[in-house]
């Protein structure tokens, strides 16, 4: 293809970029590669992951994305897309962000997370035992979804009995229109309850999905208020209780709204991410038995499995992080106007050949591997040590009992995009 033609194609791909479409998910890395080489600072017609139709920018080079994420004073996390109030600390900039993180960081250190190890091991192997009673089995419904979310509910203090309701809320809020089967169904059900007319074969409009998500947002806040009230009366050994006694900057207690907005963020970030990566990893292993065997052979070696988990997080990165320009500025000569959104897809950064040799190959001992799967800069994933541990223990527990499997030929995996993941993954034991 002539250079001019490739560039024209890049411009068209960028303008039409829709991270949730089946077409994009089928060609994702081809599109990122094209943009990275032809149009590393690309204009697009709607904000990726937020699905808002307005001019935005999308970056694809590792260096550009890392640079934007390290400059919160120029690229704010206050992107203004939250159905009720901005989430703390994700949508807050320094210096307030730093003060909130000082409260949360100590609860998620490697030392704190190591205490969960026996419980994680036990729960993972229980789930695997139950899942493998059936063949074929759905790895998402029976393992990837419940494993991290139940752990997280316990850590934060959400009663286990509320788990199904919590998953429904999360699915509506995060996955109403991204191809997630349960998100789509739950959002439509909520829409009907609200009296919104939705044709059976039509997708939700932007306005409908925003109304539905706002209504669910308010329900979640009401739920959190109840939980906070309960812990005020009766403290427990959980994060809700810790937030009630925390001091902002060591001076004042958190306000009711600050506690709610923090719990809201934990709710969204903690319920989805590890499930998504587990789903993508196992789907990849089902399709590539040689890689799976390579992983199974090294997974009991503590040093090697830690590197392998980092590589899997690089390879199967799921998050695209939006930032808002706080002033007129330039990236590679392109003029970004104040308030324009710049999208930073970690899947694109993590496949940049300038940063990673053979980026489209899994190398379990890759070094250096400065991947952006957990983000970079001040907003680096708070749950990084929990996520690593859950991924390792989850993958070990599953592969110890079931080292050989393949996709169920009669049921294709259902993928969703934006915040990427797998909605269902039917496997048969080989």
């Amino acid at each position: 293809m002539a250079d001019g033609e490739r560039r024209q194609r890049a411009i068209a791909e960028a303008m039409a970029l829709d991270l949730s479409s089946a077409d994009f998910l089928a060609r994702e890395f081809e599109i990122w590669d094209l943009l990275r080489s032809e149009l590393p600072v690309a204009r697009t017609s709607r904000v990726p992951t937020l699905d808002v139709p307005m001019n935005a920018w999308v970056l694809t080079r590792y260096d550009d994305i890392a640079d934007v994420l390290r400059r919160p004073e120029d690229f704010s996390s206050q992107v203004g897309i939250y159905p009720v109030r901005p989430w703390i600390p994700q949508a807050i900039d320094p210096p307030a962000h730093t003060a909130y993180r000082r409260i949360l960081n100590p609860e998620f250190t490697a030392e704190q997370m190591a205490k969960l190890e026996p419980y994680l091991e036990q729960y993972a192997s229980e789930l695997v035992d139950r899942m493998l009673v059936n063949d074929p089995f759905d790895f998402i419904a029976d393992f990837a979804d419940p494993f991290p979310t139940v752990i997280f509910c316990e850590l934060v203090g959400f009663p286990l009995a509320d788990h199904p309701r919590i998953m429904d809320w999360k699915n509506v809020l995060m996955h109403a229109t991204d191809g997630h089967p349960r998100g789509r169904a739950a959002a439509r059900e909520k829409g009907r309850q609200l009296g919104i007319e939705i044709a059976a074969d039509a997708e939700l409009t932007l306005e409908q999905s925003f109304r539905i998500r706002a209504a669910v947002g308010l329900e979640i806040y009401a739920y959190l208020q109840g939980l906070i009230e309960e812990r005020r009366r009766q403290p427990a050994d959980d994060l809700v209780t810790k937030l009630l006694t925390a001091r902002y900057d060591g001076e004042r207690p958190l306000t009711q709204e600050e506690i709610e907005d923090t719990l809201f963020l934990l709710f969204m970030a903690g319920l989805d991410t590890v499930a998504s990566v587990l789903g993508l990893v196992v789907k990849g292993f089902a399709e590539d038995p040689a890689k799976r065997r390579e992983f199974v052979a090294l997974m009991e070696d503590p040093g090697r499995v830690a590197d392998a988990i980092e590589e899997l997080v690089r390879y199967h990165a799921i998050v695209t992080m939006p930032r808002r320009a706080t002033r007129d500025l330039e990236i590679r000569g392109e003029r970004i106007a104040t308030h324009e959104i710049v999208a930073c897809p970690s899947p694109a950064a993590n496949r940049d050949p300038e940063q990673f040799a053979c980026p489209h190959e899994l190398h379990f001992d890759r070094s250096p591997n400065r991947h952006l799967g957990f983000g970079i800069g001040p907003h680096r994933c708070l749950g990084i040590n929990l996520a690593r541990r859950e991924l390792r223990i989850g993958l070990q527990a599953f592969h110890r009992r079931c080292p050989d499997y393949r996709l169920d030929p009669s049921r294709k995996p259902e993928l969703f995009g934006g915040m990427k993941g797998v909605g269902s993954l039917w496997l048969v034991r080989a």
């Binding site: 390290r70 960081n105 100590p106 070094s367 400065r370 680096r380 990084i384």
Partner: protein, 66 residues
């Protein structure tokens, strides 16, 4: 050889602690700092280089020494 973690750059990814647990430790916020005044015994020099190369924030300084 000596290592030093630049506290203004470290964001607490904890990669160094995983790759070279004898050379780095974390504080109660999960941020890394060098252990043992940053002194690297000869047998851990490869680990020190690996930790520096894998820090996403490029926060680890290596001083190869005389």
């Amino acid at each position: 050889m000596r290592v030093h973690v630049d506290p203004s750059r470290c964001q607490g990814h904890n990669r160094c602690v995983l790759l070279a647990p004898g050379l780095f430790e974390t504080d109660d916020q999960g941020f890394a700092r060098e252990a043992n005044q940053g002194l690297v015994p000869p047998e851990l020099e490869a680990q020190a280089r690996r930790a520096a190369a894998n820090c996403p924030e490029l926060a680890i300084l290596l001083d190869e020494g005389p």
